[in-house]
């Protein structure tokens, strides 16, 4: 299928700013789905609120655009009700880990078969450039005129600790890796987390003198490296990319079915 067959073309050009990384994540995501040969009817995409969450409006799947931070809770309901459907939940960094942090760790703990994609641009874009729990320290934002003092979450470490059975990170520069990893995450049976470092040239880039969209994307090339690379040993500040966790553990919907069997036998 052509990539455009997955799009609701009448809503294009989309609302994202020129050079926004979210369009690149969508591009990579659709190529992954295309490669897997999935039918549009078997995919449910659920999102919350924010720039990233407008993604559901643009794709021709069953789409559920919900409330801020709660996408994973809605997705849990859909998945439990119809376990044969594939649930993909793209979220922004604030959506996933500030207001939605509780649902994030509990979805990971249950190991329910949902693919969570954290489109991490380290800023609240929709509301005009406030810092997020992934901005990190010394960042300029509209709510941090004197630079942030808030440390950031490490999405990978958080997801690992919470029990996600597939955890990966990549960037919009590494677009083929985006497709490759999201494809594997969708196939993975259990809760999968893919963090994609994404650029917000409008609010993060301008405020923090990171240049334009091109500079920001190239920044991801310079500041990241493959997991366990020699470069990482030489420069510990580099952010690692790749698949950190990929393990098979009991998946929630399957475990529920086993419980139903026990209940029906009266045990």
């Amino acid at each position: 299928m052509a990539i455009k067959d997955y799009l609701r073309e009448r809503f294009f050009p989309h609302l994202w700013c020129p050079g926004c990384g979210h369009g690149m994540v969508l591009n990579g995501l659709l190529r992954a789905i295309d490669k897997l040969g999935m039918s549009k009817n078997e995919i449910v995409m659920v999102s919350g609120i924010g720039c990233s969450s407008r993604i559901t409006g643009y794709v021709d799947f069953h789409t559920l655009h919900t409330i801020h931070g709660r996408a994973l809770a809605f997705a849990t309901g859909v998945k439990m009700a119809r376990p044969e459907l594939n649930l993909i939940v793209p979220m922004g960094d604030g959506d996933a880990l500030a207001i939605g942090g509780n649902h994030f760790i509990h979805a990971a703990r249950r190991n329910i078969d949902i693919t969570a994609i954290v489109m991490n641009n380290r800023i609240y874009g929709m509301t005009g450039g406030q810092f997020s729990p992934l901005s990190g320290e010394n960042i300029r934002a509209t709510t941090a005129p004197y630079l942030t003092i808030d440390p950031s979450f490490d999405v990978v470490e958080l997801a690992k600790a919470a029990g996600a059975t597939f955890v990966a990170r990549t960037t919009t520069y590494h677009i083929q890796q985006v497709s490759d990893i999201i494809g594997k995450a969708i196939l993975h049976e259990g809760f999968s987390v893919v963090e994609v470092l994404s650029q917000c040239p409008t609010y993060f880039g301008r405020k923090n003198k990171e240049g334009d969209a091109v500079d920001m994307v190239q920044h991801f090339k310079k500041n990241t490296t493959s997991i366990g690379s020699k470069a990482k040993q030489e420069n510990p500040d580099l952010i690692e990319r790749g698949i950190f966790v990929q393990t098979e553990l009991p998946e929630y919907c399957s475990e529920y079915e086993k419980m139903v069997q026990r209940a029906m036998k009266g045990q």
Binding site: T56, G77, H106, M264
Partner: protein, 382 residues
């Protein structure tokens, strides 16, 4: 076949009724005094292949059942005041996206943590106005276990008929009291299943285009029609729109589909109203004491009647106006500071004749409490 008689708590009556109505997906979070509903369904739902989820909080519970409802399941969650407060945003979402679901609020004393193990009826206005923005809502209540059963089934029927959340306002006293319950034979209470679209695959389907009767045929998520669901104002396909005519049209539809049917949606019971000169108006557990008072005073020849409301929202204005007309006085009996009282005063022709008999101290209002007020109003002193 012999009657299926049980001796149960109100919470269990509610859970039994939900199963009778076809509930097959429940998500909840423990909170007093509603936890028995969650526990009961944790036991019974898996036995019939239904889904039970204990979520991380009340917000997630409501969100999860909304998601499940979209796939075609009959869904419910239960909570109490603090949890109901947390649910308000998702409740607005279910109203906006027109997703059938039943939310039980077993009321306890508030605000805040308040009185977790004591009764109250102080969430009536929260049920009406808790979520932001203009909207309409259905809220039902009942005073005894047999009525809790039938009104719970009605809650599911209305949710599925009108594609809307329905709030079931129980209170701690009814929820925790044990009483006889006769479970009706299957089919004795008619059940409503949601209207499914007859639009074939490949033909343009409009999930948000109401029929002439205001109902909107649905298509299950995972089925042949792919569409968008959003809490933003949206067009007939479910896609976001801020076009003034679409915004206006949708808001009118959401409000009118319920408010214009207030008369049809009204469930109520009357006792001794035919020749009554004075009327008690009550609901939920308070109506038990009100009924006791009426029966006692009748024995003494006083022409006292009772109107027991089961539908609180949309407020059955016409019925209340009609039943209160010509009464020497109307006494609203409730366990809050006058939440239904205000609605009654707005509805009747002579609001100066409407009085309040209430308790707000966590103690169940007794017939003696009501009698005291009655005697004051009658000018007989306490």
């Amino acid at each position: 076949m012999s009657e299926n008689v049980k001796f149960v708590q109100g919470n269990e009556a509610c859970a039994e009724a939900a199963l009778y109505a076809g509930l097959d997906f429940y998500a909840g979070y423990p909170i007093t005094p509603s936890s028995e509903i969650t526990e009961y369904l944790a036991y019974h739902l898996p036995q019939i292949g239904g889904k039970f989820l204990q979520m991380e909080d009340e917000i997630a519970s409501l969100c999860a059942i909304i998601g499940a409802s979209l796939t075609g399941r009959k869904v419910m969650t239960a909570t109490s005041g603090p949890g109901f407060s947390l649910m308000q945003e998702a409740l607005g979402y279910a109203i906006m996206a027109e997703i059938p679901c039943v939310i039980v609020d077993v009321q306890r004393g508030g605000p805040s943590t308040g009185l977790p193990t004591h009764g109250s009826q102080a969430d009536v206005n929260q049920a009406r106005w808790g979520t932001h923005g203009d909207h309409a809502i259905i809220a039902l209540t009942a005073s005894n276990h047999q009525d809790v059963f039938s009104i719970t089934v009605e809650a599911f029927n209305l949710a599925e008929t009108y594609r809307t959340p329905v709030i079931l306002l129980l209170d701690e006293l009814v929820a925790h009291m044990r009483e006889r319950l006769v479970i009706p034979e299957p089919g004795k209470i008619p059940l409503v299943d949601r209207l499914k679209t007859s639009v074939k695959e490949g033909v343009d389907y409009h999930p948000y285009l109401p029929r002439e009767d205001g109902r909107l045929p649905m298509s299950d998520f995972g089925g042949v029609h792919r569409f968008n669901v959003t809490g933003l104002f949206h067009d007939m396909w479910g896609f976001p729109s801020s076009e003034p005519s679409i915004v206006h049209g949708l808001l009118r539809h959401l409000v009118d589909k319920l408010e214009n049917r207030a008369h049809q949606l009204a469930c109520y019971k009357e006792y001794y109203t035919e020749d009554a000169e004075q009327l008690l108006l009550s609901y939920g557990s308070s109506a038990r004491s009100a009924l006791h008072t009426v029966e006692n005073r009748r024995k003494r020849g006083e022409r006292l009647g009772l109107l027991e409301l089961q539908t609180l929202w949309p407020f059955p204005e016409d019925i209340v106006r009609e039943k209160c007309a010509g009464m020497k006085s109307v006494i609203v009996v409730e366990q809050n500071m006058g939440q239904v009282l205000q609605a009654v005063k707005l509805a009747v022709d002579e609001p100066a004749k409407v009085f309040l008999a209430n308790r707000i101290d966590g103690v169940f209002i007794t017939p003696a409490d009501i009698l005291n007020i009655l005697r004051l109003i009658q000018g007989k002193g306490v």
